[in-house]
């Protein structure tokens, strides 16, 4: 180790320089009137990254005995930058991001957009220098014993650098499409702009499956719901029993999909159209009555039971699955696909996600919101992630292998 690193002087210098970097970032941010850092897009970001990487390799390999370079790639400076990143992230983790706070100073300092601002960018830039130098020193000369270090630190560098450099090439758009309609235009929420896509999406069918409904007691005066103590079964079905102070409710019959007939009596109906109906017996002080509850829909009034100033209501369950059956058409031909949350589909370099629907209409929504994402830098970022995981697994193995702590 060189005299610069490791000792208290090096820590002091590193902390001072790091504070100056962050402060310079805030000054720049203030001068830039709160505007974020303008990022280069393809191919200039790739070019910049290549030149930056080459510069670090040359600096690390060519000047490895130089005191300044040793300090730049040393642990004390690295630690100071880690703490600076942690501090800036802390600001970003406490102050709501992406929402204007209304304070002019906070806006000019970019406090509600910390992660795209100058202080964060500058600190991360120096962090990449520091991390990059440390990796170069472990790679040259190559020793297998350093593999874990190379994978973890190198992977982190690749993931961080390509994630940041590629941010400007990332496209995230939302395609709203109605059942029976086709759409090839999407909007970008952050920029409030509409773009034309190289393909179109036709929505054949949108459907939602729900969890079992819930029977609760509604207090309209205080606008709150009270859950009963469930003493039979775990969800609303025949035999379910719940108790509230003063009375008990037992489900006599349960129809998950039903519609009323001409005389108002619920009859089982086709899955898509029907709504949950429950025949309940309310018992209080030896007396009991029977009533039907239903969750209601845009076409049917909810069936509730009034008990003094309270109402016994049946809430529809939360969505379990929602999916869109779509037909995608583009230069590569037509493709039938099913989109579901957590099950995106890749088409012509875009990843398509089931994002949302008309929540007011719920199960009867005719609208499906599909997100399309294009991220050409993803393979590089994933390469970094897998290197990190490989290095991490080796680190774990070394830690576990110790016979004695």
């Amino acid at each position: 180790m060189n005299g610069w690193s490791g000792d208290i002087r090096s820590y002091r210098l590193s902390s001072l320089v790091t504070v100056c970097i962050a402060a310079a970032g805030f000054v720049l941010q203030y001068i830039a009137q709160g505007q974020g850092v303008g990022m280069l897009s393809w191919p200039f970001n790739a070019l910049f990254l290549a030149v930056f990487a080459a510069f670090i390799v040359l600096l690390g390999a060519g000047f490895r005995t130089n005191g300044f370079v040793l300090w730049l790639g040393g642990i004390p400076f690295g630690l100071s930058l880690i703490f600076a990143i942690a501090f800036l992230s802390l600001l970003g983790g406490v102050i709501p991001q992406g929402i204007s706070s209304g304070s002019i100073l906070s806006e000019r300092l970019g406090l509600s957009r910390i992660f795209s601002g100058w202080p964060f960018s500058l600190v991360v830039f120096f962090f990449l220098c520091n991390l990059g130098l440390s990796v170069v020193w472990k790679i040259i000369p190559f020793r297998l014993a350093n593999l874990q270090f190379m994978l973890f630190h190198g992977g982190f560098w690749i993931a961080l650098a390509s994630g940041l450099a590629g941010a400007s090439d990332l496209q995230r758009v939302i395609i709203p499409v109605y059942e029976g309609h086709e759409n090839s235009r999407a909007y970008i929420p952050q920029e409030n702009r509409i773009v034309q896509l190289p393909f179109s999406v036709y929505l054949d069918d949108f459907s939602i499956e729900e969890y079992a409904p819930q029977i609760v007691l509604y207090d309209p005066d205080n606008d709150r719901v009270m859950q009963g103590e469930v003493t039979g079964g775990t969800e609303v079905s025949k035999g379910y029993r719940a108790v509230w102070p003063g009375f008990a409710v037992t489900v006599q019959d349960y129809l998950p999909h039903a519609l009323p007939d001409s005389s108002g009596i619920p009859r089982p109906a086709e899955g898509e159209k029907g709504i949950p109906y429950a025949k309940i017996r309310i018992t209080s002080g030896g007396k009991s009555i029977e009533r039907w509850l239903n969750t209601g829909s845009p076409f049917i009034k909810p069936g509730v039971v009034q008990l003094d100033r309270f109402y016994l209501v049946m809430f529809p369950g939360s969505p379990k699955v929602f999916r869109s059956g779509v037909v995608l058409s583009g230069s590569s031909g037509r493709r039938i696909a099913e989109l579901e949350v957590n099950k995106p589909v890749t088409y012509e370099g875009w990843k398509l996600y089931q994002m949302g629907y008309d929540e007011k209409a719920g199960r009867w929504s005719q609208l499906s919101l599909i997100e399309a994402v294009s991220d050409p830098w993803l393979p590089a970022v994933y390469c970094g992630f897998f290197m990190i995981m490989a290095g991490n697994a080796m680190f774990f193995w070394k830690g576990m292998k110790r016979e004695r702590v």
């Binding site: 103590e229 469930v230 702590v405």
Partner: protein, 266 residues
């Protein structure tokens, strides 16, 4: 099994841990008590495991969605780490801290009972759900144990009774905990790409997980660069507070309004 049965299991577990610990005091005079005392302590953990398994079956989904549900896992796993450390490295004191911590988590659940709710929102229905949460769970458990070991070392330091073994213990627990935090973070990123379209969006929980990860990254570099042992114990003991914010505190932050990580029932 529903939550109405929870108090019985929680109190049984706490009673077992307490009885087993008290029996340990007698071990020096009556060595025959040794094995029964371990059996009783293990039985305490077995009660919690029993509850988790049957609750899982009733819920028809892994009980890993709400904070209350994850606390059940901590209550089972933290003492398990204490017992494993004793089994492998013959360090007996850690298990007491672990049992106290576990009893504390059960206490929170007793004071604030969860609502029985089978629903698992579509975003959570993923192959990543269990690996992401379990890796974090175990990571937090190890770091909680590391912090307990660090407090113990600080306390021993005040009494001028420092043990080399104690320092190594807090270090290795932190190291293993860090490894699991890293896996949790990367698994989370891979999952987020599949569920929300991007691997990193600075969601408040993500940001805090990143800060906690940086805190332990800082620890490993301080330790590698030869920082004094006592300072490192303070660092480890206090780093856990950052983790606690990430774990429970984030939901109360002004920044958490739109977090994809709030799965608490309303």
């Amino acid at each position: 099994m529903t939550l109405t049965d929870f108090p019985v299991f929680a109190f049984s577990a706490i009673a077992c841990w307490a009885t087993g610990s008290l029996l340990q005091i007698l071990v020096r005079r009556y060595p025959a008590v040794r094995y029964p005392s371990y059996a009783v302590m293990l039985a305490g953990t077995a009660f919690i495991v029993w509850f988790i398994v049957s609750y899982w079956i009733t819920l028809e989904r892994p009980p890993l969605r709400t904070l209350g549900e994850t606390r059940l896992w901590y209550a089972a796993l933290i003492p398990a780490v204490g017992f494993l450390v004793e089994y492998r490295w013959k360090i007996g004191w850690l298990k007491y801290y672990c049992m106290v911590l576990a009893a504390f988590f059960l206490g929170i659940n007793l004071a604030h009972p969860d609502v029985f709710d089978k629903a698992l929102m579509p975003a959570l229905q993923s192959v990543w759900f269990i690996p992401h949460v379990v890796v974090y769970l175990v990571g937090y458990v190890l770091l909680a144990a590391s912090s307990a070991a660090a407090w113990h070392n600080i306390y021993s330091g005040f009494r001028s009774k420092t043990e080399l073994l104690g320092y190594s213990l807090s270090h290795y627990l932190a190291l293993l905990g860090f490894v699991l935090l890293t896996f949790g973070l990367v698994f989370g990123a891979l999952w987020a790409k599949e569920a929300w379209g991007h691997y990193w969006t600075w969601d408040p929980k993500e940001t805090w997980a990143f800060i906690s990860w940086l805190a332990y990254l800082g620890y490993l570099h301080l330790s590698a660069n030869g920082t004094g042992r006592n300072k490192l114990q303070w660092y480890l003991a206090l780093s856990f507070l950052v983790l606690l914010v990430c774990w429970f505190g984030v939901n109360y932050m002004p920044s958490a309004q739109n977090s994809v990580h709030s799965y608490q029932p309303d």
